[in-house]
Symmetry: T
Subunit: 69 residues, 12 copies
């Protein structure tokens, strides 16, 4: 039977949480096979000089596990 | 005294979680009376071929309860 | 084997959380069969002009499932 | 865009949690369209005279929402 | 050693959760020194006449603590 | 857009959790503007010589934020 | 140094959660020494024939530990 | 009014979580009166040499409380 | 001192959650050294045409960490 | 098969949480057989006259269950 | 009846979480009256150049509430 | 935009949780680039012959993600 692994990534984007989350998915897709659901586990913002400079989305991604840590 | 019921819906949209959540609210509003707060209980993304194809928002909606399950 | 369904209702009462929760149970009992446990998942208060005007109890009720959503 | 609804059911079976959960899925499938994932939110056991007489699985089921409560 | 305090604010905006969260950050930045991370603890929507009229983001903000409640 | 702040108070009363929670609301209403929902986050009891001497309710209150910590 | 133990009891009363919780405290006080805080971990109701017949409060009690399980 | 106590046990079995949980119930039933619901709070597995050698179920059992710790 | 790493895998099996969890353990054991406890963090089911076609168990596995991500 | 029981103790020490937790383990070890893991479920501090006078650690201990409550 | 307020502070110290938590208590004690329990809600570490440079403890402090936000 | 990955490690030390957590950070720093925050997700103790023989800290570490699982 197939086995999946879950990794947790944090994407960052100056405009929105959607783009921050998508950045994490896109980076993972370069090396991971058969990505499926990406669920959001946390949202936050980086602040500098009293301004929001980046939106960050923590996402859990599952993909087909080929063994290894 | 008035009694409210809570339903949990999942809205889906290719562009944003706001539109996904709004889709769920709009569908519910067609048949439910006196919708009030809609709180978000989960956000995730559907992925195909390594791309985000849809944003999904799980929302809890409360509305006036008329009896029934 | 029997199957049960769980609904979440919010009862409201100006005097106490017990009466708020009971209001939810009584309304459900008019149309649902074989109610069993009602567990409390949240308590809050409505405030107007700095006064508590209603106690609200969110309760999860299980009852015999006959099919349908 | 499609909207899904989530219902919470409790299935019961004298032999295993798998069969208890399956009982809930089968009952729901008689009347709900396009069932997808069923996630387990709780497991417990009924005891009589110091013996386990039934396994119970609480499952959350999502299915295509056609409107209504 | 430096000590930080955490406040919880709710921002509101008719267009998006990003702007709602940013509204809370901007208001806090008028009087608080050295704001750092702002993490999202809840998202919801206000509904009127079956329409989403505002997105709300509850955010936890940490800033340098100068003493007091 | 309006911004709200959340404070967490603990009210105490020898008779009931309703009165304990109301005590917290009343004290806050003396100095805070536009109080809205007060949600209960914890209930406990103080015990002396094996007797319950006070009921305590921890409540989260939201009110219009004018700036400051 | 003193060591405390925590037990979890469920009190039951036909009238209120306060009296249900107090019943648990009173029963424990008959045999346990130096009871301190009793925090509420769950509230529910027993229902018969569609009526609330008892309020139940699950409380966690700490008391001086003299050894043993 | 009757008072119940809750104990948390971990049962172990080489074949299944159902049997692990049942082992805990059976051991408790030898000395505790009027056992009612047993809810599962955790499931895990013991591994030796890369093989699952035992399934373990942590269960919370309630029974009539006669006093004592 | 030894350091352990935790990975989260999802095993799948058409018959039971025990076999699904075991599938995840067995796959990990092919490449990871000194596996210890495997705790279950989620159980769900895949449904096709109203039937359960697979049980899935999400498990957290700890093993000796040799460095790397 | 062996069955384990879990007790929850609170240790107290004026210097550190490690010593507070160890105090709870040592007291339990005087009367309980085959103690295994002790996991920390809460940390807090007692304050008098604005000073920390004790660190407290709440720990869950599992040990071989011989029957009884 | 007395009303208490809860504030959440983050203390930082290069040596230990005890000293980090104590730093938060000491700073608060300069301006708040009648501090009581301080419970830990989170522990983390700051890292620079691969080294732990500070331990941080997030603590919730309750103190007598005199009104205000 | 930069993407971060989160790994969960368990450090062990005979003397304190601070040293246990630091051990995990130090091991990770040998192979991971740009480590930032390390948050504690669990603390426990290993017990042998009724004595605490090791403190263990489970920490979540974020570091710059270069791709891969």
């Amino acid at each position: 039977m197939s086995v999946y692994k879950i990794v947790e990534l944090v994407g960052t984007h100056p405009e929105s949480w959607e783009k921050a989350a998508e950045a994490a998915v896109n980076r993972a897709a370069e090396s991971l096979r058969d990505l499926r659901i990406a669920s959001v586990s946390d949202l936050d913002m980086q602040i500098e000089d009293g301004k929001v400079v980046a939106y960050r989305a923590k996402v859990k991604l599952s993909f087909r596990y080929e063994g290894g840590a």
